[in-house]
């Protein structure tokens, strides 16, 4: 049984995983202190003939310590988290050179719109691929999530990316993949009977392979 996160493959993974492990250590210590404490007290202070409990009503000093220490610790975790959050989700954090995609999300498919050879979304050479997202490694990409019916959520576990797609809202998510390979996309918001099967794949290519794939698709589109 493992509390180790699966390998990450994006620039976000380092920060998020670090925060997770910091919290794991802190909560792990608290967990041990409380559970061992309970066990020790249960055994040490169990009733035996001739014993009496000590009439103690409390301790202001103890209250102060166990209020201040958790409070300070938690605020520190909060502040550490804030910078990372802003970097990932801040509306001004999307790198200007991110490659734009549109994702039309519906029950129960992901339709990725690519900008085509002219490098512009919204032109006639755009093309759509169902359930496959092809991106180059080490380049930021920006996905505009367009939900067509109900709320879905774009989740790539390996990239530590998750963002709800909400009908009627303009929602962007960005990330930068760091390892070539194939990764799964799941829907992370209950969206109907096919929610469990709303699976797509991200293909992270080297720069050359990405260009090759794009031109192959453009050529195939021309033939149609």
């Amino acid at each position: 049984m493992s509390w180790i996160l699966p390998p990450g493959a994006s620039t976000f993974a380092g920060d998020i995983d670090f925060l997770y492990y910091v919290i794991l250590v802190i909560t792990g210590i608290a967990f041990v202190v409380v559970e061992v404490g309970l066990l020790v007290f249960a055994i040490k202070y169990r009733a035996r003939p001739g014993r009496k409990a000590q009439y103690i009503e409390g301790s202001i000093k103890a209250e102060i310590i166990w209020t201040a220490v958790p409070a300070v610790t938690l605020v520190i975790i909060g502040l550490m988290s804030g910078g990372v959050w802003n970097h990932i989700k801040g509306r001004n954090s999307i790198p200007p050179n991110a490659i734009p995609y549109e994702v039309h999300v519906k029950q129960f498919e992901w339709n990725f719109t690519y900008r085509g050879p002219d490098g512009q979304l919204g032109t006639s050479d755009d093309f759509i691929v169902r359930n496959q997202l092809h991106i180059p490694v080490n380049r930021p990409v920006e996905l505009q999530l367009i939900a067509e019916d109900v709320i879905h959520s774009f989740f790539v576990p390996a990239f530590r990316v998750k963002q709800d797609a909400v009908p009627g809202m303009d929602i962007r998510v960005w990330f930068e993949a760091t390892k070539v390979g194939e990764y799964e996309i799941a829907c992370a918001e209950l969206c109907g009977l096919g929610h469990y099967r709303m699976r797509a794949r991200v293909f992270v290519h080297s720069a050359e392979d990405y260009q090759q794939w794009l031109s192959d698709r453009a050529a195939a589109a021309d033939e149609e």
Binding site: K106, Q107, F108, E109, N111, V129, R130, N131, Q132, G192, L193, G194, R197, A200, R201, E224
Partner: protein, 246 residues
């Protein structure tokens, strides 16, 4: 006290069905003799070059892609040698009046190779439509009619059958599969049995009619609706041709 509640609630739970549009069994009346012996046989033609049907990207559904030897296309306009398939033809006027006995045999529609087969089907009001899945993967059948109750049901495995019954006439009830956005089908729900769907060779036959003059309509999902009149003698046959496109 609690045992009483548990047992009686369990019985109530089990005793009632989940309630669907009616599973199992259609109108149920035994087949009675048809009203007549005349028939209309016809042809649906397409003039000019057929528009190209869009290619379907089945790359993420390998079990379905494997069933198509050529790249699968979405048969929206299905033309073979100038003949148009999947046109829903029905009598709209001149009938003596119902009620018409509902067949106990169901109409059928299948999901195969991630396509609805047939694409267009006719069914009587009160007749069972048996929907089957021949693909080893999830399809859902979502129908959003205007005159009938909507339904959205799944068939996650091959070999499943779901039965639906429509309670009102409707031309046409659209079917989609939400998992595969290209999958569409249409059911024509008619209060009488005088309808047919044109085959790949464009032909159709409507039989069991009494002698008379009838107004007939032919519907296609993108090419619109055409009308025609035809007169048949008792025990006779007449032809009717519809032409789309051009």
């Amino acid at each position: 006290m609690r045992r009483f509640w548990v047992t009686s609630c369990l019985f109530a739970f089990l005793g009632c069905g989940g309630g669907d549009g009616g599973s199992g069994g259609g109108g149920g009346a035994a087949e009675t003799a048809p009203l007549g012996n005349a028939s209309i046989s016809g042809m649906v033609m397409f003039l000019g070059d057929a528009p190209a049907n869009p290619a379907i990207d089945m790359s993420e559904e390998p079990e379905c892609a494997a069933k198509h030897t050529d790249g699968p296309t979405n048969p929206i306009v299905s033309v073979t040698d100038g003949h148009l398939a999947n046109v829903f033809v029905r009598v709209v006027g001149g009938l003596p009046g119902g009620p018409y006995p509902v067949p106990s045999e169901p109409a059928t529609i299948d999901q195969n190779g991630c396509l609805y087969v047939p694409r267009v089907v006719g069914v009587m009001v009160g007749q069972t439509l048996a929907i089957t899945n021949s693909d080893p993967l999830l399809h859902n059948i979502k129908a959003v009619p205007t005159e009938n109750r909507l339904f959205n049901i799944s068939q996650p495995r091959a070999g499943m059958t779901s039965n639906r019954i429509f309670t009102a006439p409707e031309i046409m009830v659209p079917f989609e599969c939400s998992v595969h956005g290209w999958m569409n089908a249409y059911a024509g729900v008619v209060e009488h049995p005088y309808f047919a769907v044109s085959g790949a060779d464009g032909s159709f036959t409507i039989s069991g009619l009494p002698a008379g003059t009838y107004q007939v309509e032919a519907w296609h999902e993108t090419l619109g609706t055409q009308s025609g009149d035809v007169t048949v003698e008792a025990d006779g046959s007449a032809t009717l041709t519809f032409t789309f496109g051009g």
